[in-house]
């Protein structure tokens, strides 16, 4: 029981002010690191303020004093029990070349499921167009793809090198931002327990399958490969990576295969989700540049063989990167050769 409330407040106020000052300085500089003595002092002041709050919590002098102490204890509690790890030095290269591929492999099941949904959509698109050619306007919502593929190929092959000059940068910017938004949407739909993500991937697959079938049926398979492979070899996997992230979120919400509670599951999987979507966004930036500056040129400006070779090599390198990077293989190889 606090008999003399005035003396209690007067005695404790310097400690509360000191705690407030420490919290202010910590909140101003999120990268600040406390020395051991400062950390001990902060903890002591937090415990002292907590103790004061516990003493006034059930007393009538609340809410005035309680409403003074509660924000202070809240802030101190947040600072001391923070979920954020210690301030880490930014290491973008390590993140991209090690953490990103490691995360991809750790959540590999989701990638294969996302790929499966895309391929199922492709099969549906092929079957739909094969069985009913009139369905084309409904499953290919792009005006430039609705005409005869051979007409488009003839038109594209007549284009000169300078015809597209000046439009590369805005086109690349539009592609990057649009595709990144699509990938974010694909991830966000994972909140519907993954169903929305699967639908999005299936729909993308339907368009892809229908376009591919339309061009192959028209005998323009080489043009199609030369057009799609240079950027599609990374753009399509990037969208599937976003789907992978969405499916990780969906599985986390369902709780399949773990006895952890939802909060714990989300805490564990969130860094993987963020890594996958940021990785996908970076790949899409590259894909946008390639699509704008390279994919849009056709024979005779750029031979199809060069474009197909570029796309194939890029696909293999990207696959090797996701499969091998971050395993420390190079380091192990160096150690084995060391005397």
């Amino acid at each position: 029981m606090i008999v003399d409330i005035e003396r209690f407040v007067e005695n404790e106020t310097p400690y509360w002010r000191e705690l407030e000052g420490m919290l202010d300085s910590l909140e101003r500089d999120s990268g600040a690191v406390l020395h051991l003595d400062e950390a001990r002092r902060l903890h002591y002041l937090y415990q002292r303020a907590s103790s004061a709050l516990a003493r006034v919590n059930h007393m009538a002098l609340a809410p005035q004093l309680r409403e003074t102490l509660e924000p202070l204890v809240t802030r101190a509690y947040t600072e001391i029990h923070q979920g954020r790890r210690q301030a880490q030095r930014l290491a973008p290269f390590h993140w991209f070349f090690a953490v990103f591929p490691q995360t991809f492999r750790r959540q590999g099941w989701a990638f294969w499921l996302a790929l499966g949904a895309t391929l199922a959509g492709c099969a549906f698109g092929v079957a739909a167009l094969a069985l009913d050619p009139d369905v084309k306007p409904y499953i290919m919502p792009f005006p430039h793809l609705l005409g005869d593929p051979s007409d488009r190929v003839a038109e594209e092959e007549q284009a000169e090198l300078d015809d597209r000059a000046g439009s590369h940068a805005p086109f690349a910017a539009m592609l990057m931002t649009h595709n990144t938004k699509v990938s974010m949407m694909t991830l966000a739909l994972g909140v519907t327990f993954g169903i929305g993500t699967l639908c999005m991937l299936f729909y993308n697959g339907v368009i892809l399958g229908a376009v591919a079938f339309d061009y192959i049926r028209a005998g323009e398979g080489v043009f199609l490969s030369g057009w799609l492979l240079p950027h599609g070899s990374v753009e399509i996997p990037a969208i599937i990576l976003a789907g992978q992230a969405g499916l990780v979120l969906g599985r986390t919400l369902i709780g399949w295969g773990t006895s952890d509670n939802l909060r714990s599951r989300l805490r564990k999987s969130r860094p993987d989700i963020v890594t996958l979507i940021f990785g996908a966004a970076i790949v899409l930036i590259w894909a946008g540049i390639v699509e704008s500056f390279f994919s849009q040129y056709h024979e005779p400006v750029v031979p199809y063989a060069v474009k197909i070779l570029f796309g194939t090599v890029q696909l293999v390198v990207f696959y090797l990167f996701l499969g091998l990077a971050g395993r420390g293989i190079g380091l192990r190889w160096l150690r084995r050769d060391a005397p």
Binding site: M1, I2, V3, D4, I5, E6, V9, T13, S30, Q47, S50, L53, N57, H58, M59, A60, L61, A62, P63, Q64, L65, R66, E67, T68, E70, P71, V73, T74, Y77, T78, E79, H81, Q82, G83, R84, G166, S167, A169, P170, A172, A173, M176, T177, T180, K181, M184, M185, A188, L189, V191, T192, L249, L253, R263, L266, R270, P271, I273, V274, I277
Partner: protein
């Protein structure tokens, strides 16, 4: 937290409980509106910086504006909520803050996930999905908050206590009995103390009969909680008893100095 209350209680490992107050849909929507205006202003400023690019190449300027708009649109909330500890400009102006469900500081992944989920929360327009989710959620969480384990609270502000309003700055015969004052503080629940304070503060707006009746009932309740000796209470009205009791309940070092 119990039921649909806006009060959200967190218990620390030390066994201390403290309360936070959840932000309602209206204040969050207003904060979002302010953020939209801030984004528009930022985007306008960035558009002016595209002028030098336009001199070199018109296409380059368009590309710059497209990318800048994208980064402002997507990065605004992520950057500010992480840098300002759960606050954007709108939230800061309206006194709101995003925090971890357990009151902890936000992790970067939480900020990113809750903001990326805006793509779904925003369907089909004006955050309809997010708004419905918020109304249905006991913690007023939209889907993004749900996936990120976050809640939006009203940033706590210390209460401004207008002691003089109660007329309690006069001589208080109870002050001679600090041990009984302490018992009074211990026995009277906070809600009743707040009621006594408000009754005194609004006494002039009460009808005379209701004023007398209310003062008598609260004073009786307080007498039962911690009876003061007769020499401290003799000759004082119920209202004066209430003034003295409120002074004893709420008096602090600071308020004593203010009163002096």
């Amino acid at each position: 937290m119990t039921g649909r209350s806006l009060r959200y209680t967190i218990e620390t490992p030390e066994g201390i409980t403290f309360a936070l107050y959840l932000a309602g849909p209206t204040s969050r929507f207003l904060a979002w509106g302010i953020d939209m205006l801030a984004k528009a202003a930022l985007f306008t400023l960035l558009s002016y910086t595209a002028v030098p690019f336009g001199i070199v190449d018109g296409g380059l300027a368009v590309a710059y504006v497209t990318v800048a708009y994208f980064f402002v649109d997507q990065g605004y909330s992520i950057a500010l909520e992480y840098g300002w500890r759960g606050q954007t400009l709108g939230k800061r102006l309206l006194g709101l803050r995003v925090i971890d469900e357990q009151g902890l500081r936000l992790a970067f992944s939480q900020v990113v996930v809750r903001n990326l989920m805006r793509f779904v929360d925003g369907i089909p327009f004006f955050y309809a999905v997010g708004g419905v989710a918020m109304v249905l959620s006991p913690r007023l969480q939209r889907l993004g908050d749900y996936a990120a384990n976050t809640i939006v609270v009203r940033a706590p502000r210390p209460a401004s206590f207008e002691f003089a309003r109660t007329g309690s700055a006069k001589y208080n015969s109870f002050r001679a009995y600090p041990h009984i004052e302490a018992r009074l503080r211990q026995k009277v629940p906070p809600e009743m103390a707040a009621l006594a304070l408000e009754t005194l503060a609004r006494r002039e707006s009460l009808a005379p009969a209701e004023r007398l009746d209310l003062m008598r009932r609260i004073a009786d309740y307080l007498r039962d909680c911690a009876p003061f000796p007769t020499e401290a209470t003799v000759g004082i009205t119920d209202e004066q008893y209430l003034r003295n009791a409120v002074d004893s309940l709420f008096r602090t070092g600071a308020s004593k100095r203010d009163a002096a």
